[in-house]
């Protein structure tokens, strides 16, 4: 296909995702917000890239990660990084807050949705500013909501029950991390596009902390798993 400058009006539209990232789960805890995502990017049904560290730090007190088309995610990371730089122009020492990033992303997503060329993402922005936690979700259409817990993708189906039962907004960091690990265990068992190596990151008063990837332990050696109905047919 030859790109002719006369046809420069031609524009690509992201109509279907090619390389996709998995579910994201974020919970507020007493003193900050913790986010978890797995380290897998799938190419359709293939687990193509298995140690992708997705959680991006967009400013000193904000982290961003999303599920969906990975190239759109990388593009948004670039766009968000520009915001802090362009704010320097005003020379007033004011840095964008996490909410500013969330709002910007919501407006950007909505604009793209109106052009029928969406950013194929469900976005999570987490931050801590002026003593307050911030956690926002922006979806593919530009719908914006702030909450104490957010989930994207398959996690929205499987993990909300776990979160309801084991988490509250004033729990400790370790409790919140453990809830996220439990959620990813379920996801690994029940989501074809999930991986058992996850990455956690949290934002608190001190700033952002992105941890090294870790593997979650899942249990498979139930006796019911070993001995299934088929085996009872063996006459030997």
């Amino acid at each position: 296909m030859i790109f002719n400058s006369e046809f420069s009006g031609q524009q690509q539209h992201t109509t279907q995702p090619i390389v996709t990232g998995g579910s994201v789960i974020a919970l507020a805890y007493k003193g900050g917000v913790v986010v978890g995502a797995d380290t897998l990017c799938s190419y359709g049904s293939m687990a193509d890239f298995k140690n992708v560290e997705k959680i991006a730090q967009v400013s000193k007190n904000t982290i961003y990660v999303s599920s969906g088309e990975f190239s759109d995610f990388q593009q948004v990371v670039r766009e968000l990084a520009k915001i802090d730089r362009s704010a320097l122009q005003y020379d007033d020492g004011v840095h964008p807050s996490p909410r500013d990033y969330g709002n910007y992303l919501a407006r950007l997503s909505y604009k793209r949705r109106c052009k029928i060329n969406p950013l194929y993402l469900q976005n999570v922005i987490a931050g801590f500013h002026n003593g307050e936690r911030y956690l926002g979700l922006v979806d593919i259409y530009g719908t914006y909501l702030e909450s104490n817990f957010v989930t994207t993708g398959f996690a929205s189906y499987f993990c909300k029950a776990i979160i309801s039962n084991y988490w509250n907004e004033n729990c400790t960091l370790d409790q919140a991390k453990q809830v996220i690990r439990e959620c990813f265990k379920v996801l690994f068992c029940r989501d074809c596009r999930a991986h058992d190596v996850i990455q956690l990151a949290y934002v608190d008063e001190q700033g952002t902390h992105i941890e090294q990837p870790e593997r979650v332990e899942t249990k498979w050696d139930f006796s019911g798993f070993k001995n299934r109905a088929n085996e009872k047919l063996h006459t030997q």
Partner: protein, 214 residues
């Protein structure tokens, strides 16, 4: 597009997006499979047993639409049982393969089923028959199938040797299935192995934490 077409396109059949394989070694036959049954992106069964019993020394490995393969297997099991009763001795693996083939060929337009029939009989020893989608029957020394098999053709082509020992065959199958599970989103969980020889059949369960490569 009418309403029925839209409905049909939304309904994803539960399939055994899967990795299955069978290998003949010196002295018998080794079968391996993963344990994931997927319905679209959802794992419907994370500990499935894809190695189905047909007769005492005949087994089949199923891939494709789970409903289709399950019902065909049920029918073939019944026919082989009746046949073996009348015969009074162990049935031939080729017989089972042929019965599968009749179903898959007759109903090729409405079925999505691909089966590996593997077993031992006293007439020709260990045999493997691959029955791909259209209903053809091909006898092979080793066979891989399912969505995960696409990722391990290179591995299997390079590492297969004729007349392996049981240990070598076990390493070959468990590594191959592990590699397929590593890359295929529709395969995963634990590895089930089945060793078929003249004297015995042995099942083995490789727990997720013992899977050779992950």
């Amino acid at each position: 597009m009418n309403f029925t077409d839209i409905l049909a396109s939304k309904f994803e059949p539960e399939t055994t997006g899967t990795t299955i394989m069978a290998v003949i070694y010196d002295g018998g036959l080794l079968i391996g499979a993963d344990s994931r049954t997927s319905s679209g992106q959802f794992v419907a069964d994370r500990c499935a047993d894809k190695i189905d019993y047909i007769h005492d020394r005949i087994f089949c490995l199923r891939s494709g639409a789970a409903a289709d393969t399950q019902i065909i297997t049920k029918h073939v099991r019944y026919y082989v049982d009746a046949h073996a009763q009348e015969l009074g001795r162990l049935p031939a693996v080729a017989t089972a393969a042929n019965l599968f083939r009749n179903f898959l060929y007759e109903y090729k337009d409405s079925m999505s089923a691909s089966i590996i029939v593997a077993g031992w009989d006293p007439y020709k020893g260990p045999q493997i028959f691959t029955l791909p989608l259209g209903g053809s029957v091909i006898e092979q020394k080793w066979s891989i199938g399912g969505s995960g098999s696409t990722f391990i053709w290179g591995f299997c082509d390079s590492n297969y040797k004729e007349n392996m020992t049981h240990q070598e065959a076990r390493a070959f199958v468990s590594h191959a299935v592990a590699h397929a599970m590593f890359r295929d989103g529709s395969s995963g969980g634990i590895i089930r192995l089945l060793n078929v020889t003249k004297d015995k059949i042995e099942r083995e369960f490789i727990d997720y934490k013992d899977v050779p490569f992950k």
